[in-house]
Structures are given as C-alpha cells and as structure tokens.
Symmetry: D2
Subunit: 191 residues, 4 copies
C-alpha cells in the first residue's frame, strides 16, 4: 500500500446532520443526498487508511454537547434519508459549531494541531455559506484545501458554482471532483 497512514490530511464534513427547516430546505436535502455518495466514498478511504474524519455540525441552539440530542432534533421526513446516508460512526470525531465557520467557537483548530494536519478535504453544505466561510478560516490558518466539487452543495447551483470559483481562485483550493480523481484519495496527496 503506497498511501501513508500518517498523511497529514483530514476530512471535514460540515452540517450534513441538518433539519433542512428553511427556505429551499427540501431542495437542499435532495442535493445533500446526492453528495452523500461521493462523500461516503472519500470517507471510506479515509477510514481504511486510518485518517481522521471530523464532522463539524450546527448545534441547533441546543447548547449542549450531545450528539444524540442533535440527531434527534434534526430527524424528520425530509432529513431522514440524509442522516441515514451519512450518520457519523463511533470512530468519527464530532464537533458542534454555533455559527457559519467550522473554526469559530469550536476546538477544530486544536484538534487539527494535535493530529498534525496540514491539508483539509472539505465536504458538506451549504457550499456558499458554511463551507465557504470555513474554507477561508482554514486558509487564514494556512491549511491546504481540497474541496471536491461533487462533495458540496448549496440551495442554488449558481451560488454553489460561484463559491467554488472563489474557493479556487482566492483560497487556492483544489476543486476537482472525486470522480475526476476516480474517487482515489491518493490523488489528494502531494506526489
């Protein structure tokens, strides 16, 4: 096996545990289901290589560090297929965030430092809000970024494309889709 288990890379999955109770929420739920498949393909490779998978998720104003309560709060007919598709396993890290960015008011930076991570793969929703602002916070902390275009979604495809463009141009992210990379995580490593 060529891939090193000590690669300095982590997968961050943003806001996929979601109640979708907002305007166009049903649309976004469908898109979230669509990206679950490529995200899970990435996640499987991370897990197989023993690389960290970190969920960072809105806390839905529960203000309690309690995964079960958050999942329970989010469960409804619209969200259920997404939660079923992408629920965190007991091996995954699970952090909660109170605001847009995965770094703001969370221990994410501390966790990444302890794990000696230098490169992030960002996935999740919404691409033009929480993913974008998390990406900038990562960039300001000097992480390298991969944001595969088939692993993020926004309410509106035009906004999603714009966010991808910004993340590519301003934040120097590699936005090639995992399918372009044949879902092969080794394509994420520097050669």
């Amino acid at each position: 096996m060529k891939e090193s288990p000590t690669a300095e890379i982590a997968l961050i999955i943003i806001d996929m545990i979601n109640d979708f109770q907002f305007e166009h929420g049903e649309d976004l739920a469908k898109k979230a289901l669509n990206i679950s498949d490529p995200i899970n393909k990435v996640k499987e490779q991370f897990s197989r290589l023993n690389l960290p998978v970190i969920y960072v998720n809105d806390h839905y104003q529960l203000w309690q560090a309690n995964l079960d309560k958050i999942i329970s709060h989010c469960q409804n007919p619209i969200s259920q297929p997404v939660i079923d598709a992408i629920r965190p396993s007991s091996q995954d890290y699970f952090l909660i965030k109170p605001k847009h960015s995965a770094f703001y008011g969370t221990a994410l930076n501390t966790l990444l430092h302890q794990l000696n991570i230098k490169t992030l793969v960002l996935a999740g929703i919404a691409g033009n809000i929480c993913v974008l602002f998390s990406a900038n916070d990562a960039y300001m902390r000097e992480f390298k970024l991969h944001i595969p275009k088939d692993c993020i979604a926004s309410n509106n495809d035009h906004d999603n494309d714009n966010a991808l463009l910004m993340m590519e141009e301003v934040l120097k992210a590699d936005i090639r889709s995992m399918s372009q990379k044949n879902y092969n995580i080794s394509a994420l490593f520097p050669s």
Copy 2:
C-alpha cells in the same frame, strides 16, 4: 421578589465532571465534594431565577460532543460522589473544552453574548489552573467576576489561596464566600 430574572449574570461550573485520575486526584475529589454543596446552593438560586447555569468541562480527549460519553468516561469510585452531587440537569448548558480555559476552543463567548451576560460567577476545579485561566480570559473579554472562595478548590490549599489572591488583585474578582453572602445571589448584583 427583588431579584430581576433579566439580570445579566451566569454561573459557570468548571471541570466538576472529572475522573480525578491524576496525582493528588483523590484529595481533589474530596475537596470537590466539599464545594459541591455551596455550588449547588448558588445553582438552585440561579435556576429559581431562571438565570443561566453553564457547565464547561474537559472533554477527556474523546473529541466528541457527547455528554453521556464524558460522564461515562469519568465514572469511577473516586469521582462518583462528586458526579452524583453536581451532575448537570437537562436545563443546564453543557459545553466541552479541550484546554485549561473555558473560553479556548469553545462557544462560551458566543453563548454569553447571546444571553447578554456581563457578569460571571465562576465555580469548580482546579482553582489555580482551569478556574484561574478561565478567569483571566473572562477578564480580557471585560466580564465582571465573582469567584466565591468556597466554590473553588485546588489540589493544594496554598495554591488555591494564591490563585484567589491573584484573581482578586489582578482580575478584580469579588472572592467573598457564598456563606459570607448568606448564599444569597442578590449579593452578587450591583446595588
């Protein structure tokens, strides 16, 4: 009733859910049990007045926002009496922290801002480490501080006294014990 339910004050309980698996841990567990009684008297008044009670607790490297897992991790014959005495209720806020300060890598500042809090009552362990460094982080954010001397404890009483002195002199904290104030929360309010 003179006390206002909109008083801008919160109670922060630090690291009382603890495994006490460290040097002098058994000693600190006894002291933690001793301070549980005055802390609970404060907590009852906060709850009665509908004022926020916020636990901020070490996450024991679980890196999962999951209260049940943390309590379960901490339970042992030494910690059990303390956990039984001071376990958070379902109405209490519960945040986890990765390092000494209750503000570092947590959403505490965001929560306090949303609740419009200007004054903190700090309680818990260890007085000369996590309480002290949380107190300075609160002071730098310009919160007023009450740190009742009978509501904090350290491994070593001399260190606890020193920390109290520093918090009084450098961080302008009111360190009078709750018993000096007759366990009356109205003594915490500006007259």
Copy 3:
C-alpha cells in the same frame, strides 16, 4: 442636531492603504480611487458626530506595528492617488491585520467592545475577499452590517456584485449606496 454622538456605530475602512502590486492591481487602484469619494463623505459625517473611524489594513509582512512604515511601503505611482485621498488622520484608529479578515489576529473585536459598538459600516477593498470575510466574521459576532455598494470595490465588477448579494442575503447586510441614502449617516440608524 438629531444624530446622537453615542450611536453604537463605527466605520471600518479595509485595505485602502494598498500597494496594488498584484494582477489587475492597476484596475483596482482606479476603482479604489472612485470609492474614496463616497467613503470620505461617510467618514466626514462620522468624524463630525465624533463616531469612531477604524482603518484595518494589511501589514505587508512588515510585522511591525508602524503606520509610517506601512504607508511608506505602499507608496508608488499607482497607489499614491488613493493614499492621498484616504490617508488616516491622527484621530482615526489604525489597526493592522495579517490575513483576509479584519478580525483575525487583530484587536478589532476588543476595540469595538470597548466602544460599545453594535453596528458596523464596512468600506474598502477587495469587496469579494477582505470585505466579504470581514463581514462574515462581524456577522458571527452578531454585529449589524451596512456595506454601501458604492463604498466597496473588487478587481472584477461581477465578483463585486456577487459578494454584495451574498452579504445582503446571507449576512443580512444593508447594501444600499450612500448616494441612495443621500450620503446621510442618519439613514444608518434605526428609526
């Protein structure tokens, strides 16, 4: 005079002291000169009402808190007209920032707290980078936002319009131009 000198509002001017030494820098310098006029009209009203004007500016890797060195570093034939138009006065606050956001690695939040500011007017460049990411950091800290569309500019007008749209929709900013408001700062106050 109807406007209150204690209004909880500040003007933030981002990256206008600039060397414009980057791709499309000359274009952006022209646009920066164009927005200097409306920004100065806002600034005059803030100064007249004794409201805070805060420059937050890239430090150009000088890593020294030294306004004169930064201005001296930035001066060149392209930047000179902009610097002449918008140079901070000795009454203005002047902070330096190392990254995109005006809040990251700066004392801006502390200053705003001390001044009891709840609402920000953002102006400057580049609208789709430093202004946008500063705006999100302000939004996460729960400031209300005014980002007059004639007071920001980006390399590319399409990107600028997109950023304005995002700041309006996602960050709830009021993006009406100062000319729409007749350059009247009282239009910024809640009625």
Copy 4:
C-alpha cells in the same frame, strides 16, 4: 557552529516598553532594568543566530499600530533607562496587544506559525500577570516554554516566585536562569 539557524525557537519580550505609571511602578522599573541585561544577552544570541526576536507590548490605549507613538507615550524619567536598555531594533518584530496575554487580539500566533516556531523563550514584565497569562495561552497552543527566572520580574518578588512555580508545574516551563545555562542559547535546544 553547532546551533542551527533553523531552530524552531523564538524570543518573546513582553511589555518592557512601559510607562511604569502604576502603584509600585518605580520598583518594577528598577527590576525591569535588572532583567534587561540577561534578556539582552539572550537577544544577542538570537540575533547572531538569525532567530526571531518578537516584542509584544501593551498599546497604552492608543489603538494605533505605531511603534514611535508608543515609545513616545512611555518615555518619562522612570522608564527612560529601561527603554534605553531594551529598545527594539529595526530587525525585531514589534506587535501590540490590548490585554494581558500576548496572544489575545494579536497576530502573534499567525507570526509564530509562519516562522514555524515550536518553542518560546518568554521574558519581560510583569511575571505574574502578562507573562503568566501569555505562557498559558502559549501552552494551550502547545508551544514548549522556556521562562528563564532571571528574565522576568513582578512588582513583588513573592508573586514572581509563585508565578514561576506555576509556570514550571502547570505549564511545564523550563525556568532555569540564563546564568545557570551560562547565557548559552544552545542550552535551550533539545539535545
């Protein structure tokens, strides 16, 4: 030469540019002058090895990133000998801080990350306030600490000794004096 110029170590000099206008300020000025000599011996070695020397200094509520203004504000008959002894050179980094900790509201963490620093030597005043709280912030960010006991001072020697003890025990700092190490910076490197 055995010392590596790429050693991941920086010298942080805290609040030595000081107006000493506070209770016991004159006493602290004398102590600050006493520690200037060992600090300068360390600084000379850092400079010779091309290792970073970073001043982090109170901004005296000037809220302007302007070294000259700060020095000018601080100059008085009490402070003059200290400023003369330890004034930053044009090669030194100079950051301003608004509060106790050198990390709070500053770009220090960003600078240290860019310089790839893992170990800090802390020096300056006051040992039991700004040095102590900076040390904890450094510890929470997982820096290794050297705090030579002859390079810090506090108003009161008893408080200084207590702070040193805390930094040694709680923050795992090496507090041996530079004279114990024969003022030899190589003693700071892991063997």
